[in-house]
Subunit: 210 residues, 2 copies
DNA sequence: AATTCTTGAAATAAAAAGTAAAAAAATATA
DNA sequence: TATATTTTTTTACTTTTTATTTCAAGAATT
């Protein structure tokens, strides 16, 4: 694990994927080095903020030179855990669950889909992106055999709590929650919410008040 | 438009949909009134924060009584614009676009899908949730005829900027951006990002550092 | 060798967010 | 009706978080 001297602030953490995206772009464009000043213009941040952000994780830059794009990109990869990758399962093979399962980009970026589960007998057995939808009943056995880090929960509201509890009790480390509902699990399980309906409501509010 | 004396902070705005959800639940359960204290326990916030949040938009409560669930819910509805609703279109009818189009909950909550557009000749004409996927070419005409507030952009990275510019130039007021890319549009267009890959990376980071 | 860049770290400043508490208003109770 | 209680509203305060500035030191370039 990366050495971390003090707690990194939330704002910084949320910027990391964005840095990662820009670095990937620069790498793509065969840019070898970049200074915080140039990057700041590209990203609409201040140079000093960028330097401070990176310095939370150690000194990746070099005075008089800037940052090496390739190596900064791979540092970010490590920080985000994308280098080793994460195993995932999807629970809930509805529209959204299937869309995520089909989203090949996630595989490329180190999030490996190992299984898809649902309760609906009508779709169990159906293949999505090469994986058969399995019965929820087989989830405990499955998780005992496979090491899975992340459960992607795309089930209806009503069963969300139950599913989250189950996943947590089976040793899942993180939940990516797409249900319009708050999840309560022990502290050793991390929850990241994607509340789509909340998100569009915020958009609506901002449109009204813009 | 609701009277707004001073700028409401971002943190408050982001909590509004959550309040809205909880109020809906209470209404569902036929709860008539609720005090900030009781609500705070339910939601894991302090009573004082809840009162302060609501007071940004005017006094909806009554001393000695608390908040009337029904009327607070409908106030929130107005604040979020859900009462009048928003017309939307989806640009990009891939996996994610189709999943969103099929997500009937949005309709119920005041986001009305008026059209789906794509470039891919193979899927143009196909019906999703009762709407035919239209050719991007017809977008300008379509937007001249229909009053559309929100463009939901679910196209590949490469065309995101172009599509966003187009939508903005045609009078769209808000963009719900699902592309893993930052969008730059004039200030009269609001952008709300749902960067799924950013979100899962943050989850990964947190798992590693939990 | 001198000059120019550019980082990293510490200190500072600013902003945002949350908490607390007094004042006011309505309700409930006796 | 008077009084006690509840609970909001509003303002002020505190804390936390976030961002900026400054500057010494190191590296590259000329």
């Amino acid at each position: 694990m990366a050495i971390q001297y003090k707690k990194v602030s939330d704002a910084v953490i949320k910027r990391l994927p964005r840095y990662f995206r820009y670095l990937a772009e620069l790498k793509e464009a065969n840019v070898q080095r970049i200074s915080s000043g140039v990057l700041s213009e590209k990203m609409g941040l201040t140079a000093s903020q960028i330097r401070q952000d990176f310095s939370c994780f150690g000194g990746f830059g070099q005075q008089g030179y800037g940052y090496n794009v390739e190596s900064l990109h791979s540092e970010l990869k490590k920080i985000l855990g994308v280098d080793k990758g994460f195993n995932t399962i999807i629970i809930g093979a509805g529209n959204l669950g299937q869309a995520i399962a089909n989203h090949s980009k996630f595989e490329k970026r180190g999030y490996f889909l190992k299984g898809i589960f649902d309760l609906d007998a009508k779709i169990i057995g159906k293949k999505i992106n090469g994986l058969e939808i399995m019965n929820m009943d087989s989830l405990p056995d499955f998780l005992r055999k496979e090491k899975v880090d992340i459960a992607i929960i795309t089930v209806p509201r009503e069963v969300t709590a139950e599913v989250a509890d189950l996943a947590a009790s089976l040793g899942i480390k993180g939940i990516w929650n797409f249900s319009a509902m708050d999840i309560k699990v022990p502290d050793d399980v991390v929850v990241e919410n994607v509340h789509l309906s909340d998100s569009i409501m915020v958009l609506g509010y901002r449109i009204k008040n813009n």
